[in-house]
Amino acid sequence: DARVTQTPRHKVTEMGQEVTMRCQPILGHNTVFWYRQTMMQGLELLAYFRNRAPLDDSGMPKDRFSAEMPDATLATLKIQPSEPRDSAVYFCASALTAPYGYTFGSGTRLTVV
């Protein structure tokens, strides 16, 4: 089965450190999404790309978060500097052509201490 691959699966870091999360979308999917899941806020869209171009990152705190797609096989989400309130599960998803084939990765569980 085709899958979206996220690394790392778990990350514990100290406040102030830089964190980079990576996502390999399903080959041929042209849309990539980053979501964050917390108990309080649920699942929230942070940013998304179509054909590697950023379409919307209004859900992301711009001062510390950045999302890029350097090539069709890699999307990255970076937090610098990280804060305890960033602790959450970060999901990447890709779609063939939205809304079809919407597939989530297994997530990166981030803990900032």
Binding site: T31, G42, Y48, R50, L55, D56, F91, P99, Y102, T103
Partner: protein
């Protein structure tokens, strides 16, 4: 932005029982999807159903777009159905194009006991 409300928030069933989960949304949509998050955290796409009815095995879904709600039916529930069920929508754009930009409800936590 569009609001999504799911009910009930929690549901406990005995294996073999049937259930109906509801999703209400506040505006017109061109994209509605149901997802299941299993106890290990994996999100699985169940249905893309902006309108009409679909069935996949013991699961079926119906969306009545004009009345702004969707229902997910689970028949003959099994312990493996446990987890959180999310409804997610994308508000309708002027040109009808979907970008996949989903707003999620808070989910229904389903527990199925053997």
């Amino acid at each position: 932005g569009i609001q999504v409300e799911q009910s009930p928030p929690d549901l406990i069933l005995q294996e073999g029982a049937n259930s109906t989960l509801r999703c209400n949304f506040s505006d017109s949509v061109n994209n509605l999807q149901w997802f299941h998050q299993n106890p290990w955290g994996q999100l699985i796409n169940l249905f893309y159903i902006p309108s009409g009815t679909k069935q996949n095995g013991r699961l079926s879904a119906t969306t009545v777009a004009t009345e702004r709600y969707s229902l997910l039916y689970i028949s003959s529930s099994q312990t493996t159905d446990s987890g959180v069920y999310f409804c997610a929508v994308e508000g309708a754009s002027a040109g009808g194009t979907s970008y996949g930009k989903l707003t999620f409800g808070q989910g229904t936590i389903l527990t199925v006991h053997p």
